[in-house]
């Protein structure tokens, strides 16, 4: 996973017209930004617009970033704010347009093998996940993507950085308990 090494350099290079540096920044952080939009339950169209808005905002702030090495946290904070804005916008302005997106987006189209082997287990896992508190769902959606730096996770969720680890453990423990209650092995992954 991307460490902060060299990120400040990329920001400074992009600020002086280095397009490759910009592309590298986009490659490093698009996964994080997308996972934040998913964590806030945006539809895919809104998520795409929010991610694009965040990149455009970075573009106009490249020279002004106080700490280019912490661009990940800056992006995550900006993404959180834009997600919150987009949620209000969608609720107020597009009540019907986005209705189809409220269908369970997690119901990914499974392969035939997956159906045979894991569909019941996955269904239960999906159900157990959906019953977690909102805060847990958000955190796990971001953490499951690419183990991003906790500083960026904290910025995305407006949580103290020191609480990410303990909250992660607590949320996974809750998920395990719910799985046990539905009668499947708590130690997921052993199947």
């Amino acid at each position: 996973m991307a460490t902060s090494t060299g990120v400040g350099e990329l920001v400074r290079a992009a600020a002086t017209g280095d397009r490759q540096a910009w592309d590298e920044l986009v490659d490093r952080y698009s996964g994080l930004l997308w996972s934040i939009a998913m964590a806030y339950r945006l539809g895919r169209t809104d998520a795409a617009d929010v991610v694009q808005t965040v990149w455009l905002k970075l573009l106009e702030n490249l020279e002004k970033l106080r700490d280019p090495d912490r661009v990940g946290a800056w992006l995550a904070t900006t993404a959180r704010r834009e997600c919150q804005r987009a949620l209000v916008r969608t609720r107020r302005e597009l009540p019907t347009d986005d209705a189809w997106r409220l269908e369970p987006r997690d119901a990914a189209i499974p392969t035939p093998e997956a159906v045979a082997v894991a569909s019941e287990r996955h269904r239960l896992l999906r159900m157990a996940f959906a019953q977690l508190p909102e805060q847990c769902q958000r955190l796990l959606r971001i953490l499951m993507v690419a183990s991003p730096p906790y500083e960026a996770v904290a910025a995305a969720l407006d949580m103290p950085i020191g609480s990410i680890g303990p909250t992660r453990a607590r949320c996974l423990e809750r998920l395990r308990r719910r799985l046990s209650a539905s009668g499947i092995s708590a130690d997921v992954g052993d199947s």
Binding site: V26, M38, A47, L175
Partner: protein, 153 residues
């Protein structure tokens, strides 16, 4: 990626499998972000978004109907007031420059630029925009251009 090691990592890995469709950004999103670099400008002063009626909920609604969104952008000595009205997927901007003055304005959105004029009273109107990020770049007499922050309308 590292292979899952502890039980927590294995559980997260299985979650990723189950919720997988959401896990990675579509390549179109990544490509659009890369393309956005062409919007980079070095000469413009930034007008910051200082008020957005969508999120700055005040006790008293100061102006506009519920389907109108009021935005205020502020640069050093220029304020750009914009009202966004919604009609289906279309957005229309009504704008006012303060202090009032004529200007040439570029409307930057989704890879295209449209040019309009603000009249002598500093008013302008832009119909037919998409529900996507937009930025206005104002060229005024006797000063550097002013670009508004990007905002998703």
């Amino acid at each position: 990626l590292n292979p899952p090691s502890g039980p927590d990592e294995r559980l997260l890995a299985e979650l990723r499998e189950v919720l997988g469709r959401d896990a990675a950004p579509p390549s179109s999103v990544v490509e659009a972000a890369k393309e956005s670099y062409t919007w980079r400008t070095v000469d413009a002063e930034l007008a910051e978004l200082t008020h957005d009626s969508l999120v700055d909920q005040t006790a008293v609604r100061t102006r506009g109907a519920p389907d109108r969104r009021a935005l205020t952008f502020e640069a050093r000595d220029l304020i750009i007031e914009v009202e966004v009205s919604v009609s289906g997927q279309e957005r229309r901007l009504l704008g006012q420059l303060v202090p009032a003055q004529p200007a040439r304005i570029e409307i930057r959105q989704a890879g295209a630029t449209r040019r309009i004029e603000a009249d002598a009273a500093g008013r302008f109107m832009v119909p037919g925009l998409e529900a996507r990020p937009v930025s206005l770049r104002c060229r005024l007499a006797g000063r550097d251009p002013v670009s508004t922050e990007w905002v998703l309308i």
